[in-house]
């Protein structure tokens, strides 16, 4: 014979409802941040990977990881920076391990030759410049690269980037300066040659 004991169903139901309510609240809170932080994660990943599909995968993974660990975040104000670091780290891992990268590097070694551009804007828009620029940017130390990418994004000031990364403004400025300077040095030969042509 089976014996069934009624085990305080009201309390069990209440606990379940409480859990579900907390879960729903957490999800609402997260989704509110998604509108702003989703594109940010995507752009960070895209800035590292230079591939739309890979960037989308990485951004999605970063957002899901952030969601899974959302409860552990003590200071909600740091969510953006937290997410950015997750996305950046995942993108770096993906870039290192992906075989597709090798294919792209092969393509970069033989950039399409185009007529020399006249203005700086035209030159910057050319695929040849982009290839050189991408290689130069990828060769930068990670901490400089992240600051450069975030600072170049529309809508983020140096102060906001500093707050996002939890760094002093001065540190961000110095990294920004050092990164741009290193990039300029690496591109100098290219620009000089282009101008000569």
């Amino acid at each position: 014979m089976q014996e069934l004991v009624l085990i305080q169903p009201i309390r069990a139901a209440e606990e379940q409802w409480t859990r579900e309510a907390a879960h729903a609240a957490r999800r609402r809170d997260f989704e509110e941040r998604l509108a702003e932080c989703g594109p940010l994660a995507y752009r960070v990943a895209r800035g590292v990977l230079r591939n739309d599909a890979d960037a989308e995968d990485v951004a999605q993974e970063a957002l899901l990881r952030a969601y899974r660990r959302f409860d552990r975040l003590r200071d909600p104000q740091r969510f953006r920076g937290w997410l950015v670091r997750i996305a950046f780290r995942l993108a770096l891992d993906r870039a290192r391990s992906a075989k597709r990268r090798e294919v792209r590097e092969t393509e970069w070694a033989q950039p399409v030759r185009r007529p020399a551009s006249r203005t700086a804007e035209e030159l910057a828009a050319s695929s040849e410049f982009q290839a050189h620029f991408d290689r130069a940017l990828d060769a930068l130390p990670e901490k400089l690269r992240l600051v450069l990418l975030l600072s170049a994004m529309d809508g983020y000031t140096v102060e906001e980037v500093a707050a996002m990364l939890g760094l002093p403004v001065g540190t961000v400025k110095s990294r920004l300066f050092a990164g741009r300077k290193k990039l300029a040095e690496k591109l100098q030969c290219y620009v000089t040659n282009t101008k000569k042509r």
Binding site: E31, R43, E56, A59, A120
Partner: protein, 234 residues
């Protein structure tokens, strides 16, 4: 020839875009090499800034947000999976418990037709010692209720189609701890009104000599019982 002592200052001026110091401006007016170097540096930093902007401000795919939300929706399911994992230990047991509760509900509905108030239903709960006749042979074989057993009992009709060996008799008895009869009645009423769920749990700790073999096929860890749609129709 480039004047080395101005090189760093020119690079910094090009990088920052700030106005040049007066002394440097005076030198640039006189030194063509430094003037050209500054122009090159300014062009370089323009390249760099344009390149960074184009790389950092890519358009986000239009369906990106939708995909993320869809992925998030899937992500929400783990608690349910965890919950269902608890149920997975006794999927057959859940079905058996559901059947049991449905039968209880049907019986209660019959009782309600006769005695619609909960107090009337409550009066159906009696002490085991007062109705030894309802204790089945199976019950006795599993471990007889000692005098003054702390359980009251409720009889329910059982489907003849039940294939559970333990339940393979005309009636099934559900023991309810004394003092919880009214709670059960309220929950049964709740089921009838389709307002609530009832959770049952098998608890054999107080009957250690009950044979597990007798209940192995319907051992219940936890069961959520929902009423059938047609239960509230009448």
């Amino acid at each position: 020839m480039l004047c080395d002592k101005y090189k760093e200052a020119l690079t910094e001026a090009a990088a920052s875009g700030t106005a040049l110091p007066r002394s440097l401006l005076a030198h640039l007016g006189a030194c063509a090499a430094c003037h050209a170097f500054l122009a090159t540096q300014q062009a370089l930093f323009t390249f760099v800034d344009n390149g960074l902007r184009s790389r950092a401000n890519v358009a986000v795919p239009s369906k990106f947000d939708h995909r993320i939300r869809a992925a998030l929706q899937i992500q929400v399911s783990p608690p349910r999976r965890g919950q269902s994992r608890a149920f997975a230990f006794g999927s057959i047991a859940v079905a058996a418990a559901a059947l049991l509760a449905i039968l209880l509900t049907q019986n209660l509905k019959q009782d309600q037709r006769a005695m619609p108030t909960s107090s009337a239903i409550k009066s159906k709960f009696v002490g085991a010692e007062q109705h030894p006749a309802v204790v089945s042979r199976d019950t006795k074989s599993l471990g007889p209720s000692s005098p003054g057993t702390p359980y009251s009992r409720k009889s329910a009709l059982m489907s003849q189609r039940s294939k559970t060996p333990v339940l393979g008799k005309a009636e099934v008895e559900v023991l309810v701890p004394r003092g919880q009869e009214e709670l059960l009645v309220k929950y049964m009423e709740g089921i009838a009104a389709r307002r609530s769920r009832v959770t049952f749990s098998a608890n054999l700790q107080h009957e250690p000599y009950m044979k597990p073999a007798e209940i192995s096929s319907i051992e219940i860890s936890q069961a959520v019982v929902r009423p059938l749609p047609d239960l509230s129709s009448d």
